[in-house]
């Protein structure tokens, strides 16, 4: 007897046909589940040095630019809250323990921001943790400096590392490049001035005919120095006027409980509380914060929303 024609198995055809109707969905479910477990690998394996560049600049200049960025109190290229553009409250870290120990040449500097909440631009960012940025500065030649920048987010609870998608490093580098440009320009200006004053006597010694040129150059230098003096006086005047506008203004606390913070960031520590109605003297002002002095002499930062101008 052909087993395919047996009555007993004929009776199985209907249930089997029914099974077939949902087989694609069920097999898909099983295959996806098992395949993903076999092939899926955690993203932490992807952690690597993510940004490096050879910069046209002296080591000292690059180092100074990196130091300025490392101490600027924010981490650029990432944020917690929609609408923000950076992560405030960053600080220079005493060590770079969140990264593997760097054994290569160069100077290592780290900046961290603790208690960051699922910061953007870190792969699969989740929960609360610490964002760290590491800069490594190496000398390549007298005029070329190599800079490495790495950024990582490490969850507090499960220690999951989340590497940056690269945006943090490139944005931080843009800040470094901005400072470096300013430093280089200042350096070039100084160098030009120094060269001018140094070159003229040499020209005189080299050629009697160059005396007139030297005199012309000295005349130009004198004119430039005079202009610089006038501009400096103008700048000082503007700064004095700005200070006059800012300092001496009085504010009144409108929140039920105002807080003077050590730095102009929400996460900064509270120096002292100031009661509603208290008067504060403005020392300086930023976009969202006033630096103020309270009646008890304590100075700190208070958010614009907590005060109003005193008539």
């Amino acid at each position: 007897m052909n087993w395919l024609t047996s009555n007993r198995l004929q009776g199985w055809k209907a249930p089997l046909a029914r099974v077939a109707s949902f087989l694609p969905a069920f097999s898909a479910l099983c295959l996806v589940f098992t395949s993903a477990l076999v092939f899926a690998r955690p993203d932490k394996d992807a952690i690597a040095s993510s940004f490096s560049i050879d910069v046209d600049g002296r080591y000292d200049d690059v180092m100074e630019a990196v130091n300025l960025v490392a101490n600027n109190g924010v981490i650029d290229g990432t944020f917690e809250y929609k609408g923000d553009e950076s992560l405030p409250g960053a600080e220079l870290a005493p060590d770079c323990s969140m990264f593997d120990t760097w054994r290569g040449p160069g100077k290592v500097i780290c900046k961290i921001r603790k208690r960051a909440l699922s910061p953007s631009h870190f792969i699969n960012s989740n929960d609360v943790g610490t964002v760290a940025v590491r800069y490594i500065v190496q000398t390549v030649s007298p005029t070329t400096t190599r800079l490495f920048i790495d950024a990582i987010f490490l969850e507090n609870s499960h220690h999951h590392p989340h590497p940056s998608d690269g945006y943090v490093e490139t944005t931080e580098f843009a800040e470094v490049a901005k400072h470096l440009k300013q430093l280089t320009e200042a350096h070039d200006t100084l160098q030009a001035g120094y060269s001018s004053s140094e070159a003229s006597p040499r020209s005189v010694a080299a050629s009697e005919g160059a005396v007139a040129d030297a005199a012309d150059l000295q005349k130009v230098l004198a004119e430039q120095q005079a202009k610089l003096h006038v501009d400096s006086q103008h700048l000082a005047d503007l700064e004095r006027r700005l200070a006059d506008l800012q300092v001496g203004r009085k504010l009144r606390v409108v929140s039920e409980r105002g807080e003077l913070k050590s730095n102009p960031y929400s996460h900064s520590s509270v120096i002292t509380a100031v009661p509603q109605g208290a008067s504060l003297l403005v020392i300086a002002e930023s976009e969202h914060w006033y630096e103020v002095r309270a009646n008890n002499g304590k100075e700190g930062w208070i958010h614009h929303s907590q005060v109003e101008a005193q008539p």
Binding site: N2, P24, L29, C30, V32, A36, E80, N124, D127, H158
Partner: protein, 465 residues
């Protein structure tokens, strides 16, 4: 001819298998390559402009910060809580529903041999249905009424039902400026880290933790289980990061049903239950935070009612029951595993369905039924937008209410596998493609005392807005 038909049938099978394999490969490739980091879920993500990953391992499971945020009365504890940061158009409300296709099957059912004739000799049969369907809809609103006063209201309705309030409570947070003192009042979920309201399975068979709802066969206890929201008052507290938490609740003995109702009878609620939970989080060096906890529910349920003109007016003969257990939530890299053990016991009167004023009605050898149960449930978070889950759960009777009952009657053995893929997860909306298979076997509940097995396959889109 038969052979030829069979060959055609075989070819058809091969085609179906190939189609299944191709479909699976395409789906797998699509799912894995399309997964990107999550961004937000509606209710609080909108309020704070935070990504969903701030609070969720994967919606709806809370991560460590999400638990702390919830414990802190839905407040971040910084100036972002201040109304000046809120968009005036913000409205803290979320809708959730799951259109789906599902297939349900149950075997060993007593079928009438003559359809429509209940007097005909029953025969063993299987019931199988499948088709497109809708889940119930949840309309959840929650947030803060004022600094340190939070609330939640969750009207819920299934197709054809009237709305009921799944929860509705107000909570006074950080009393005396201490996170250890928070008072909740209303109808709420019993405090536990392993929340049935936040798990990943939705099908008819796999959409419950059986331990949280189990009752022995013949038991008349009105308590719906640890998984049911209850009416009452909760005192809770936690340390700063919510690694250490406690709660103790006083609850009406009516399984969270409004109207001073007990076991479906109106105006009869009159006793109170107690629920307590403690949990502790600790760090394992490389794996990070691990959590363990203990819980217990001690309650009463009526065994009969005082009546007036035959109408029940007051529950009476209340007898005790308890549920106690321990749990752990273990994390290692992308894998987290939830484990639970629970022991339950009901009074001899509840277990045998006998009014306590009629002890003579107890069957010979009657005792209070006891049982033990537990589950192991694992989640593998490939990334916040793709989570796989699997669970094995059992509840086994350790002592039946009387010797006439089979020792395995009502035992539950169940397992579930599935995954959720979140193709979008923004501050306005979230969408999960949900795929699940669940199976549960109930001891001796089928035709002629056979074990009865039910299974569910569910494919759906779980979304909230």
């Amino acid at each position: 001819m038969q052979v030829s038909d069979s060959r055609q049938h075989g070819v058809s099978w091969m085609l179906k298998l190939r189609a299944a394999a191709l479909f699976a490969v395409i789906l797998f490739t699509f799912v894995v390559t399309s997964s990107r980091p999550g961004h937000a879920i509606p209710a609080f993500a909108r309020k704070y402009g935070l990504p969903c990953s701030a609070c969720h391992i994967g919606w709806p499971i809370l991560n460590s910060f999400g638990q702390a945020f919830r414990d802190n009365g839905y407040q971040l504890g910084n100036d972002r809580d201040s109304p000046i940061y809120q968009n005036p158009a913000y409205w803290p409300i979320t809708f959730r529903i799951t259109p789906n296709w599902h297939r349900e099957s149950t075997n060993h059912i007593a079928l009438d041999s003559v359809p429509g004739d209940p007097t005909s000799t029953p025969v063993n049969g299987t019931q199988t249905v499948d088709g497109f369907d809708l889940s119930g809809v949840d309309i959840w609103t929650a947030g803060t009424l004022y600094k340190n006063i939070s609330f939640s209201v969750l009207p819920s309705m299934a197709e054809g039902d009237t709305f009921h309030l799944e929860n509705a409570w107000v909570r006074f947070d950080n009393l005396l400026n201490s996170p250890w003192l928070n008072l909740k009042f209303g109808k709420f979920e019993l405090d536990t880290l392993l929340s049935e309201k936040r798990f990943l399975t939705l099908s008819n068979v796999g959409g419950v933790w059986y331990n949280y709802h189990f009752l022995p066969q013949g038991d008349i206890n009105g308590f719906g289980g640890i998984g049911d929201n209850q009416l009452g008052l909760e005192l809770a507290g936690h340390n700063k990061n919510s690694y250490i938490r406690y709660s103790i609740s006083m609850l009406s003995s009516n399984d969270g049903t409004p109207g001073l109702t007990t076991s479906g009878q109106p105006n009869t609620s009159r006793t109170y239950d107690v629920y307590a939970n403690v949990n502790y989080g600790f760090n394992l060096k490389s794996a990070g935070l691990q959590r363990v906890g203990l819980f217990g529910y001690w309650g009463q349920s009526p065994t009969y009612f005082q009546t007036s003109g035959g109408t029940p007016i007051q529950a009476a003969g209340n007898k005790g029951f308890s549920r106690v257990g321990a749990y752990g939530w273990w994390f290692y890299k992308q894998l987290d595993v939830e484990t639970l053990y629970m022991h339950g016991q009901d009074s001899v009167y509840l277990g045998n369905g006998v009014p306590s004023n009629d002890p003579a009605a107890l069957p010979p050898g009657a005792v209070g039924p006891t049982w033990n149960g537990g589950f192991v449930e694992a989640h593998y978070t490939y990334n916040p937008q793709l989570i796989f889950t699997g669970r094995y759960e059992l509840v086994h009777m350790s002592r039946q209410a009387n010797p006439s009952l089979q020792s395995t009657l009502g035992n539950v053995d169940s397992w579930t596998i599935g995954y959720r893929w979140y193709p979008i997860m923004f501050s306005r909306a979230g969408l999960a493609f949900h795929n699940e298979y669940s199976r549960a076997t109930m001891g001796n509940l089928g035709f002629l005392g056979k074990d009865q097995t039910s299974s569910s396959i569910m494919i759906g889109f779980d979304f909230d807005y």
